[in-house]
């Protein structure tokens, strides 16, 4: 861990000003990702702006009729919030599938969006990694890549975004509210994270001085037939090889609306609205789910160790949708 200076900010303005004032500064919220990476010398901020005292720790009703999740609400408090459990069970389930109870008590909603890849090489400064050190090369492409991406990769990086929460947020059409030196803006969830392309060092479209203040969830009809499937190498406390956030809004057995987002397969949560839309009005059946899954995976490329994920992801989509279908029956 490098040497850094530290300030506690007391309000949003102070936080934004503090980060401007210090070169190489970062916000620190729960610290569960940043401190991990600082101890590995992967991230070396010269200054930390502690945002934990900011008044961003509430879950509120928003004007649209949905909920607004404060950036500093912990993952645990979000998942176990009664309104979230009732109105956004998919989000609740996704969060609870991630990390551990202790980590969820620390991890914040804002921080979760920014968590970085778990690529082995990114974490190990003895190896080449374009994300950590642009231009040094990508060790994973010809290396150990069981946990790596199969969609939206580039020759420069095949890392995945490891979040579970973000997969559900993507499925639910969340929006992220950001404030910064140039004022406030709102970012559609699909535009929040990036694909690696030529700039694998950039995870997202938020600049360093910008602070996420909250996440808006629009009102949602996906309250019954939802399922979050996380496929991983152990039953808990492990990152996803493939995860699927599946949600169905049904009329009888006909799909009124459908959401499918995948985690563990790309540099960002993977969702294709046009594919979802093409199933609206169709019957919710295994055959249709399989066909949808095939389309979702078009263009998928494996790198050896992770090639199995292509087939696995398809099966996971089918399973998650079938479980979503079933979960409505139990209610």
């Amino acid at each position: 861990m490098n040497s850094f200076s530290y300030n506690k900010a007391h309000d949003v303005a102070e936080a934004v000003a503090d980060i401007q004032e210090h070169e190489g500064a970062r916000f620190i919220a729960g610290g569960t990702n940043l401190l991990d990476l600082m101890k590995e010398n992967v991230m070396k901020p010269a200054h930390l702006t502690d945002i934990n005292r900011l008044d961003l720790a509430d879950i509120k009703e928003n004007e649209e009729g949905g909920l607004t999740l404060g950036a500093l609400v912990t993952n645990a408090d979000t998942a176990w919030n009664e309104r979230v459990e009732q109105r956004y069970p998919l989000l609740s389930k996704a969060i609870l599938a991630g990390a551990s109870p202790q980590l969820r008590n620390m991890a914040t909603n804002g921080g979760n969006l920014f968590q970085r890849t778990r690529c082995y090489y990114f974490y190990d400064t003895a190896t080449a990694c374009n994300k950590r050190e642009p231009g040094s090369g990508c060790s994973a492409i010809n290396g150990i890549n069981r946990i790596h991406a199969i969609l939206g990769t580039s020759e420069h990086c095949i890392a995945t975004h490891p979040s579970d929460m973000c997969v559900a947020l993507a499925a639910l059409d969340a929006k992220v509210n950001v404030t910064g030196p140039n004022g406030d803006r709102t970012v559609e969830f699909g535009d929040f994270h990036r694909l690696p392309g030529n700039t694998p060092h950039l995870d997202n479209n938020i600049s360093q001085g910008e602070l996420v203040t909250s996440i808006d969830l629009p009102p949602s009809n996906f309250t019954k037939n939802v399922f979050y499937l996380k496929v991983r190498d152990r039953q808990s406390y492990a990152f996803a090889l493939v995860s699927v956030a599946a949600a169905l809004d049904l009329e009888g057995d006909v799909i009124k609306d459908i959401r499918v987002a995948m985690g563990g397969v790309a540099h960002k949560p993977w969702r294709r609205r046009e594919v979802e839309e093409s199933y609206i009005g169709k019957v919710a059946s295994t055959e249709n789910f399989r066909a949808l899954a095939e389309t979702m995976l078009t263009g998928a490329v494996g790198f050896g160790g992770n090639t199995f994920k292509i087939e696995l992801a398809k099966r996971a989509i089918v399973r998650a949708l079938n479980e979503a279908l079933k979960s409505g029956e139990n209610l």
């Binding site: 101890k39 551990s100 109870p101």
Partner: protein, 174 residues
């Protein structure tokens, strides 16, 4: 939409200055500690090396094992992934705070009775985690306990006994 940004380029650390000391007030097990710490001291190291309470263990220092679990205002967290300065003014309970020297927490006795450990290294974390879990009130079955205790690795593999101890205490409390 994109803001052209260089978000994740790591700043070059130019200065070799060391972090400044700050006064950090921690209440650990009801006792107040005024520690002069640099911000790079984790809460775990503050508890162990600066406050001298070595019951809390370091198993990975990266949030991957749960050995460092302590309770902050009754909530369980991994003390290795938070800085002591970030916890200024907070009330922390460690394994040493669960027993008053005469009377143990029921979980402590149940752990002994059920042989819920072997080497004992994960045990302080397991017990603090179980206390935190019980406070959360979400574990209603053995299956829930298995999931909600999965943030604490026991390499000796004492899980069945850990769960038996927890289930017994839970049933007595109910």
């Amino acid at each position: 939409m994109t803001t052209e940004s260089a978000v994740l380029e790591e700043p070059v650390v130019k200065k070799q200055e060391l972090p400044e000391f700050e006064l950090v007030n921690l209440t650990i097990n009801g006792q107040s500690f005024k520690l002069k710490l640099q911000p790079w001291v984790s809460l775990l190291d503050a508890i162990r090396e600066y406050a001298g309470l070595t019951g809390t263990k370091k198993g990975c220092d990266h949030g991957q094992c749960g050995a460092c679990t302590v309770l902050i205002n009754g909530k369980r967290i991994n003390s290795c992934l938070t800085l002591a300065v970030m916890r200024d003014g907070e009330a922390i309970t460690t394994i040493e705070g669960l027993s008053d020297g005469v009377v143990n927490h029921p979980l402590q006795d149940a752990f002994i009775e059920h042989d819920a450990f072997q080497c004992g290294y994960c045990t302080p974390g397991q017990i603090c985690s179980a206390v935190g879990m019980i406070n959360e009130g979400r574990a209603n079955s053995l299956e829930d306990v298995q999931e909600l205790m999965s943030g604490n690795i026991c390499r000796c593999g004492a899980y069945n006994n850990i769960n038996a101890a927890i289930m017994e205490v839970k049933s007595k409390m109910a």
